[in-house]
Symmetry: C2
Subunit: 119 residues, 2 copies
DNA sequence: ACTAGTGTTCTATGTGCATAGTACACTAGT
DNA sequence: ACTAGTGTACTATGCACATAGAACACTAGT
């Protein structure tokens, strides 16, 4: 995985894990890689990997059993919170961004969206 | 202006100035505030303000006359580059974000956009 | 010449991020 | 008991960011 500069790596890893949760790749209760394996998987330092789980646990995204490992939360409500939060953020960023470009009504935004081709 | 954490201030100021350029608030050749005045306007350190202009000059967004001040570029083509770059980035972020949420075709994205109400 | 207003450069301090390396504590299985 | 695999904690280093403060170089106007 490639990381953007000017953005903490541990936050980008958390975003990727959240994305995989929403995508169904990480079901509730699923065991996450060990701190050391996560470090290998993302090519980051074990301390940074540890921070990923520490921050995720504080967000109630996962829980830890000392000596056993770290596991995705078993609460389905958290999944819905992540999903709705990501959707709202994505839509809000788009709308404000397009407004800054002069597209003030949704119909104008839709026209730009339909004309958009990824490269 | 409020700054997000986990994102360099000087980059956020540059983004704001680019936004104001595209919005027509800063026409080509317009004189920008002095380093010290910019620091006051955005409530940042003069050194950070200096960095804003230094980075902007490297991006050809402005030019500097020592002893006179810093001025917005006089090249209209730069404006179009900024505008198209911001538009492309905004659209790409939206499309990839929505795809991560399971909306793979544009019609589904449009439905979400139309249902979106800002709070 | 003088002054005020510019950008520029320098040292110094503090913080957060990321890395490297080591050591410790807990759990399950043998 | 022992071992392997887990999370945790600690020191240390390097870098980018942001701030504070001071000094210098240039330009326009007087």
């Amino acid at each position: 995985m490639e990381f953007e500069t000017n953005k903490p790596i541990y936050l980008q890893v958390i975003e990727d894990i959240k994305r995989r949760m929403v995508a169904g790749e990480l079901p509730p209760g699923e065991k996450l890689p060990s701190v050391r394996d996560l470090a290998v998987a993302y090519t980051i330092n074990p301390n940074t990997a540890s921070r990923v789980y520490r921050e995720m646990e504080q967000m109630s995204l996962c829980f830890t059993r000392r000596g056993l490992g770290t596991f995705i939360t078993e609460d389905p409500a958290v999944y819905e919170q992540i999903r709705s939060g990501m959707a709202k953020e994505c839509l809000a960023n788009f709308v404000t961004g397009m407004k800054h470009l002069g597209y003030h009504d949704k119909q104008a935004m839709i026209e730009q969206l339909l004309a958009f081709q990824e490269n």
